[in-house]
């Protein structure tokens, strides 16, 4: 195998150079070479002549080598250390509504806990009739459900409160992912323990070195929360809480406790670090909102965007983006190409599920002139995505969390895209 690669690689490099030059020539001279044709068609290519890897070469498949740039990225200045930090989903490289498992953004408070599932337990204690311990095998004996939900960090777009700062939807909006979870309803587990009448709150705790904890009202816990052990059909990834995580649909990502090991039932919230000093929203008057759990209606255009400029020139083009709401499903997305002067209903394609990402498209002919692209989502509860000005006028610039304001991308005549704020 190694020998053959050595034999093949010079011609492969030759193709790459020739191919790029050919493409450049075509782009600059139009159809000047049309009589000869493109080499990728007229020349027999390596992959067309020589067999490739067999089925044993890639027992767990990876994306094409030509997609190696499609990765999560960190913004190092945001946090002190990468083990208590965040990285961002490359939204501009994805389509549809499902995020591939390896590209789901990560946020850890003490790194990734690596837990052998046989050593993991889930305990229910507190105001219950029976304090219980479950193994992972136990959990898989409860009735299972499959649900698609987005998970958005409350701090998504948090760096944009004071104005345009980061050039790329990966960085402005990439603290979000959307996968299909398999798991059991939290309700079944709590019923198995028997919640006492006074049990109005739930404390969920992780097994990692931050022992992450959040208080969740019992009403939500019994409504639609899940304990998930799979995402997109396979076991949770370690960075997403393997072997089990809490799923809290539509609510801020910090509450979706990873490496879930304990659920305590109580009669009051615990006021833990992540629900007092963090994940509270400071207003201009010095007051701070707490218990701001729901993720508001929001959208962003993912293509074009600063990391995904228009490279094809004038003519037919596809604008694409994502919309979501923690209140329910998205009923409509409007798109503007002139900075909010005029709006056009976008086309939502694919499943429209409550508290899941929605994919929208708007097709139009670009005449090569400057564009100011915006999208505005409306959810099925009637909430309309606000402008950043509207949010700042009510809250000031220091909330950090829950910035769902309308994003503007400026496109110049060359198709280069920049994050801007406009009049």
């Amino acid at each position: 195998m190694a020998e053959r690669q050595q034999v093949l690689s010079p011609s492969r490099r030759g193709f790459l150079t020739g191919g790029l030059m050919g493409a450049a020539a075509l782009a600059s001279t139009g159809l000047a070479r049309a009589s000869e044709g493109e080499e990728v068609i007229t020349e027999i290519q390596d992959w067309n002549r020589y067999p490739g890897d067999g089925v044993d070469a890639r027992p767990y498949g990876q994306p094409s080598q030509f997609e190696a740039h499609v990765v999560r990225k960190n913004v190092p200045w945001l946090t002190s250390d990468s083990i208590s930090s965040i990285n961002f989903t490359p939204l501009h490289e994805l389509d549809g509504i499902i995020t591939p498992n390896g590209l789901c953004f990560e946020r850890h408070h003490a790194g990734i806990a690596e837990i052998e599932p046989g050593s993991h337990r889930l305990m229910i204690n507190g105001l219950v009739d029976r304090q219980l311990v479950f193994t992972i095998a136990d959990l898989k004996r409860f009735p299972r459900e499959n649900r698609i939900f987005f998970l958005e960090c409350a701090a998504n777009s948090g760096m944009e409160w004071r104005g345009a700062q980061l050039n790329g939807c990966q960085f402005t909006h990439g603290m979000i992912h959307c996968v299909a979870y398999t798991g059991v309803r939290l309700k079944y587990l709590l019923e198995e323990a028997g919640v006492k009448t006074a049990g109005k709150w739930l404390l969920a705790e992780g097994a990692d070195a931050s022992a992450m904890t959040r208080s969740i009202p019992m009403e939500k816990a019994l409504d639609d929360c899940m304990v998930a052990f799979a995402m997109n059909g396979e076991a949770l990834r370690p960075e997403q809480g393997y072997p089990i995580r809490l799923v809290v649909p539509g609510w801020e990502g910090n509450m979706w406790i990873k490496w879930l090991r304990r659920l305590e039932v109580g009669d009051e919230p615990w006021e833990q670090r992540e629900e007092t000093s963090k994940y509270t929203d400071l207003l201009a008057n010095g007051k701070a909102r707490r218990h701001t759990w729901v993720m508001d209606v929001k959208s962003v255009i993912t293509n074009p965007s600063p990391q995904a400029p228009i490279t094809h020139g004038k003519g037919a083009m596809v604008l694409s983006g994502l919309a979501w709401s923690g209140n329910g499903a998205i009923s409509r997305v409007d798109v503007s190409i002139d900075g909010g002067r005029n709006w056009h209903a976008a086309r939502i394609d694919g499943p429209s599920l409550p508290m899941a990402l929605h994919r929208f498209y708007y097709e139009f002919d670009w005449d090569g002139s400057e564009l100011f692209l915006q999208s505005r989502a409306i959810d099925d509860k009637g909430f309309i995505q606000p402008t950043k000005e509207q949010l700042r006028s009510v809250r000031g610039p220091n909330s950090i969390y829950h910035n769902n304001g309308i994003q503007t991308w400026h496109v110049d005549g060359e198709g280069v895209v920049e994050n801007v704020e406009i009049s």
């Binding site: 960085f171 406009i422 009049s423």
Partner: protein, 230 residues
């Protein structure tokens, strides 16, 4: 037997968990599905270390601010600074009182946190960073007392914090938290159909470029901007 003490120990360790499983099978949980086993009191005690603002969950113990200073200098100062002012982007713990309405508010235990119980709970479960659960309950009382001292909430280094006096301490910003009222904001309260054409006068003009303050990772220089997420 005496020639193989390690073997005896190993067998004992193997048998012990199995006997717990057997006990669980003998007395199945009484829920609808009959799945899981009852947690032992020792197991609950090992994990249930959370502390609430009303003091529920506080362990027995005590410690003074002066004792806390020694523990702090050894375990905490390398990240949080000698006086809680923080190193690099690690959390600031002290100071900042009266800054919450400023352009750059400084949110610390003294200026922002509503409950002292959160300090005790968090330090006990997650600090020091990199060696969680290594401090004794008395150590955590002493550290909490010292953090009160660094924040000028107590002014006597001999101040002793204990389970008994813990809930008598109120943090200065406790009354400045309000419940979520986002739905009452004008842009959410107004559910009329939004404008679709000629919604704003004139052509859009750029007011701010991200490129002016380009901190996108591929392009950023070494100067980090203000305002992290943590």
């Amino acid at each position: 037997m005496s020639r193989f003490p390690e073997l005896v120990l190993a067998v004992a360790l193997l048998v012990a968990p199995a006997s717990i499983s057997l006990a669980a099978q003998d007395a199945p949980a009484a829920g609808k599905f009959g799945i899981g086993r009852e947690a032992t009191p020792e197991e609950v005690a090992a994990w249930d270390i959370d502390v609430r603002p009303d003091g529920l969950g506080l362990p027995e113990g005590r410690g003074t601010a002066a004792e806390g200073m020694a523990i702090y200098d050894e375990n905490c100062a390398s990240c949080h600074g000698d006086f809680g002012e923080a190193v690099d982007r690690w959390p600031v713990l002290a100071g900042g009182q009266g800054t919450l309405e400023n352009e750059r508010p400084e949110k610390t235990i003294g200026s922002y946190w509503p409950h002292l119980s959160t300090v005790y709970d968090y330090v006990r479960r997650a600090m020091p960073f990199g060696n969680a659960r290594s401090l004794s309950d008395d150590d955590v009382y002493a550290l909490t007392a010292y953090l009160l001292y660094l924040n000028d909430i107590v002014d006597d280094e001999d101040f002793e914090l204990s389970k008994e006096n813990f809930t008598s301490i109120k943090l200065p910003n406790a009354d400045n938290f309000i419940e979520d009222d986002r739905e009452s904001e004008p842009h959410y309260a107004d559910k009329s159909d939004p404008c679709m054409s000629d919604c704003k006068p004139g052509k859009a003009e750029v007011k701010m470029h991200a490129a002016v303050l380009d901190v996108t990772p591929e392009n950023a220089d070494d100067s980090a901007p203000q305002g992290g997420i943590d």
